[in-house]
Symmetry: C3
C-alpha cells in the first residue's frame, strides 16, 4: 500500500513538473484545435542548444572526475546503457503490432538517465546515512550518452534494412513483370541504392556507413561536439551563463511542440498501449538488476561501495525525461513521441523513483548487512 | 503646476524606459531607411514566449491568492476590464475617421494593466501609511486578461461583420447586374461565406464561432495555456529561470519591430491624433472612477479596505505597456500600433501615474476620513 | 625565453576559451562532414542581439564617462581606430595574392578592441601600482566602434569601385565588339549602374552614398541603434537582464557557424597565410606605438597619466575577438573569416597580451622614470 501511495504521489508530482505539464498542455491545445505554431527554425535551434548542453554537461562531468578510480563502474554504466537499448530491440519491439522504431526509441529513453531520479536516489542514501563515493554522480553521462547514441544507430540500421528489403522485394516483383528486359539496362535508383548499401556477394546492410551517418546527423553532432568541448576546453563560462540556465525553459517549449505532435499520433497507440505499460513497469527493475549485478563485481574486485552499487542501479532503472526527448526527436524523427515519452515519464519515472529506489536500497542492505 | 511638472517628469522617464526607447528607436531607424530586419520566425517565438509568460504570471498569481477573500473585488476587476473595451468601442470608435479596430485595440490596452503603474500606486499607499489587503496586487490578472481577450474577440466580431456586410452589398450589386441567371447556379465563395457565417433567417453574425476562433488563435492560445499551466501545475522553475528573466529583453526586440511597423503607419493618424489625445487624457479617470465605485460596493458589503479600493481604481486607470502590445499585435494584426501604443504609453501611463494615483488617494481620504 | 613561454601559455588558454573553442569545434565538425545546420533566421537574430549589445555597452560607457576630462584621449582613440584600418588597407592588402576585403576586415578586427586584453592590461598596471585615470576603461568604445564602422565603409567603397571597374572594362570590350551600334541605343544596366555611381565628368565612386548605405545595413544599424539607446535612454534593465548575460552564449553559437564557414574557405589562405602571420606579429606593436605617441601628446598637454598612456597603447595593440567577428560577418559578408579571425585570435591576441603589455609598461617606465 505504501508503494502504491508513493507511486501515486510521485505520479501527480510528475504531471505537475514543467516538462510533463508543457507536454500535456501541448496535447490539450492540439486537441482543442489551437492554431499555435512554433516555427521549425526555432525548434532546430532549441534542439541544438539542448543537445549541446547535454553534451557539455557530460563532457565537463567526465573531465572533472577521476577516471582512474571510476574506470570499472564507468565501463559498467556504458555496458548497461547499450544493453538496455538491445533489450528493448529484442523484447518490446517483438511484441505484436509494436512499431520497431518506437520500441527502439523507448529503449533509448529507458537507457538514458534522469537527473532528477538520480538526485532523489542520492538524497535517500544520504538521509539513510549509507556511504557512497562522491564521484558516483559523474557516472550518469557514461550511461546516458551511449544509450542515446546506440538507440539512434540501431534505429537507423533497422530503417535502412527495412528500406533495403522493400527495395529488394519490389525489384524482384519488377524482374518478374519485366522479364524480357535485361536488368543491366535499367540501372534504376533502387538498384543503385542496393549496390551502395549492400556488401557485394551477401545480403547484409553495411553497418559502419550507417553509424557514421548517425554520428554526422544534427542530433549526435551537437551532442558529441558539446561533449568534446566539455572534455577538452574550458566552456564553463558560457555553460553557466547560457546553456545551463536556458535549458529547462527551452525544453518546455520543445515539450509543448512534442505534445502537439504526440497528440496527432496518439491513435497509433490504441492497440499497443498495454505493451508499453507492461514494459515500463518491468523494465526499470530488469535494468536496475543488471546494473546492480555489474556493480557487485566492482564491489568485490575494486571495493566499490554498496551505496555506489545502489546509485548505479538507480540510474539504470531511471528513464530520461530531459536529455532523451530532444535527442530522439532529432535523431529518430519517425518514432512516435506519444509512445516513448508516455512510457518513460508517465510510468517509468514514477516506478523508478517510488519503487526502485527503496527496492535497491533494501537489496543492498540485505546483501551488505 | 505640481501636476504638470509631475506629468512632464514622468513623461520623460517613460520615454527613457527600455520599452518606449526601443519603440522610438525602431521608428527612428525606419525613418532613416535602415535595412535591419527581424525574421518573422523570431517575432513568432518572441510573441509566444511573452504571452506564455503573461499567462503564467496571471495563473500563478491567481493560484497563490485566496480566492474566497477576494471574490468580489476580483469579479469587479473582470467587469471593469471588459467594460473598458466596450466603452472604447462605443465612444472612441464612433469619433470621426477613427478606425474601429484601432479604437478597440486602444480600449484593450487601457483595460489591460500596467504592472509599473500598479507598483507606483502600492508604493505611494505604503509611503502614506494607508492600509490595504496584501492580496490586492493579485487583482491585476483578473482585469488584464479579460480586457485583452475581450478586445480580440470584439475586434474579430467587428471584422467579420464588416466582411459580411461588404460581401452582402457586393452580392446585391451582383444580383442586379446578373439578373437573368438564377442565383442557385452560382454557389460563389461569397455566398458560401454568407451561409456559413449567418444564422438562417436573420442577418446577424454568429458570435460563438468567432469567440472560439479567437481563443484558438496563436495569441490567446499561448496566453490561456500559460494561465492554465500557472493555475494547475508547478511551472515556477521554468518561470523563474526562463520566461520571467527573458521577458523584458524579448519585449525590447518586439518593441523595436513594432516601432518600425508603427513608423510606416503613423501617417494614418494625421487626422485623428487629437481624438486619441482626448481619449487618453479622459479615459484613465473614467475607468478609475468605475473601478472606484465598484470597489466602494465591496467596501460596504465585504469590508474591503479603502486602500484596496484605491488599488482597484489605479489598476483600472493604468494602461498596459507590457502585456498589451505583443498580445494585440498577434491578436488584432490589422490594428495600427502607432495608435494604441502611442495613446497608451505616451499619454495614458503618465496621466495614470502622475495624476490618477494622487487623485484617487485624495478621493479615498476625502470619503474615508 | 620568458616571452616565448608567456606567448605559448596564453596561446593555449586562448584555444580553450569558449570563443575560440566553438570556432575550432565548428571547423572540426565541418571537416568531419557533420550535417548540423543553424537556421539563417537564427544567425540573423543572434547578430542583431550581439551588435545591439556591443552598441549598448559602448553607449552606456560613454554616457557614464566624464567627456570633458577624456576628450583628447578619446579623440586619439578614434584616430587610432580609423588609422589601423587604413594601415591594413595600404600594407596587408597590397601584399601579393592577399584579398583586399580580407585585409580590410583584418584591419577592422585589429582596430577594434579586446575587452579581455584591456582587462589584462589594467590588472598588470594595478599589480605594479602604476596609477592611471579610472575612466581609461571607457576609452575602448571610442576606438572599437570607429574601427569597425571604418572597415565596413572602406570595404564597401572598395567593392563598389571594383564592380564599377569591371563594369567599365566590360563596357569598353562591348563597345569594341559592337561598334556599329550607337551606345545610346543600349541603356544597359551596366551603364545605368555607371551613371548612378559615378560623378559626372570624372571616374571617382561617390563616397557618401556608400557610407550611408553601410550605416543603413543591418550590422551598423543595430550597433549604432544600441549606442544611441545607451547614450540617450536608460536601457540598463534590459541590458543587465538580457543582452549582457546572453552575449557570450549567443557568440558561441555564431562562432560555431563561423567555424563551419571558415573551414570551407580555409583553402583560400594556403598561399597567403605567411603574410597574415607577419602582419599579426608586427601590427600590434605599430598600432600600440601610434596610440602611445598620441597618448604622450595628451600626457604633455593635459597631464594624462603615463598609466593612461599605457592603457591607450594596450587597447590599440589588442584585436577584437568578441565584437569584431559578428560585426564583420554581417557587414563584410564576402570577407573570409578564416583570415581575419585566424590572424586576430590565434596570433594577434596572444602577442598583445603576452608581449605588448609588458613592452608598453616597460616603455612608459623608461620614459616616465
Amino acid at each position: 500500500m505504501d508503494f502504491v501511495s508513493l507511486f501515486i504521489t510521485d505520479f501527480i508530482a510528475q504531471l505537475q513538473s514543467p516538462t510533463l505539464a508543457f507536454l500535456i498542455g501541448g496535447m490539450i491545445i492540439a486537441a482543442l484545435g489551437s492554431e499555435l505554431v512554433i516555427p521549425e527554425s526555432i525548434c532546430t535551434i532549441i534542439v541544438f542548444m539542448l543537445l549541446t548542453k547535454i553534451g557539455l554537461t557530460g563532457g565537463i562531468a567526465i573531465r572533472n572526475s577521476n577516471l582512474a578510480d571510476m574506470i570499472l563502474p564507468a565501463l559498467f554504466a556504458v555496458v548497461t546503457g547499450i544493453a538496455v537499448v538491445f533489450i528493448a530491440r529484442y523484447t518490446l519491439a517483438k511484441l505484436p503490432k509494436v512499431r520497431t522504431v518506437d520500441a527502439i526509441a523507448t529503449g533509448g529513453l529507458f537507457g538514458a538517465v534522469s537527473g532528477s531520479t538520480m538526485a532523489a536516489g542520492l538524497t535517500v542514501l544520504e538521509e539513510q546515512k549509507i556511504p557512497f563515493e562522491a564521484w558516483t554522480g559523474a557516472l550518469y553521462p557514461f550511461m546516458d550518452i551511449p544509450a542515446l547514441v546506440t538507440a539512434i544507430v540501431v534505429a537507423n540500421i533497422y530503417l535502412n534494412k527495412k528500406k533495403l528489403k522493400e527495395a529488394g522485394e519490389s525489384a524482384m516483383q519488377e524482374s518478374y513483370s519485366k522479364q524480357p528486359v535485361a536488368a543491366g539496362d535499367y540501372p534504376s535508383t533502387r538498384q543503385e541504392y542496393l549496390s551502395q548499401h549492400k556488401d557485394p556477394g551477401d545480403n547484409r546492410v553495411k553497418i559502419w556507413p550507417i553509424i557514421e551517418e548517425s554520428l554526422r546527423g544534427p542530433a549526435l553532432s551537437a551532442m558529441l561536439l558539446g561533449m568534446a568541448l566539455g572534455l577538452f576546453t574550458q566552456p564553463e563560462s558560457v555553460y553557466k551563463s547560457f546553456y545551463d540556465p536556458a535549458f529547462r525553459g527551452l525544453l518546455s517549449i520543445l515539450m509543448l511542440v512534442m505534445g502537439m505532435e504526440a497528440w496527432s499520433r496518439i491513435g497509433e497507440l490504441r492497440k499497443v498501449a498495454q505493451w508499453y505499460v507492461v514494459y515500463s513497469v518491468i523494465a526499470p527493475f530488469i535494468h536496475g538488476l543488471i546494473a546492480f549485478g555489474l556493480g557487485m563485481i566492482a564491489h568485490y574486485t575494486m571495493n566499490f561501495s554498496m551505496g555506489g552499487v545502489v546509485v548505479l542501479a538507480v540510474i539504470a532503472s531511471s528513464s530520461s525525461d530531459i536529455s532523451g526527448p530532444p535527442t530522439l526527436r532529432a535523431g529518430i524523427p519517425s518514432a512516435n513521441p506519444s509512445a516513448y515519452i508516455g512510457a518513460s515519464t508517465a510510468i517509468g519515472t514514477p516506478i523508478a523513483i517510488g519503487v526502485c529506489i527503496p527496492f535497491f536500497i533494501g537489496l543492498a542492505q540485505a546483501i551488505g548487512g
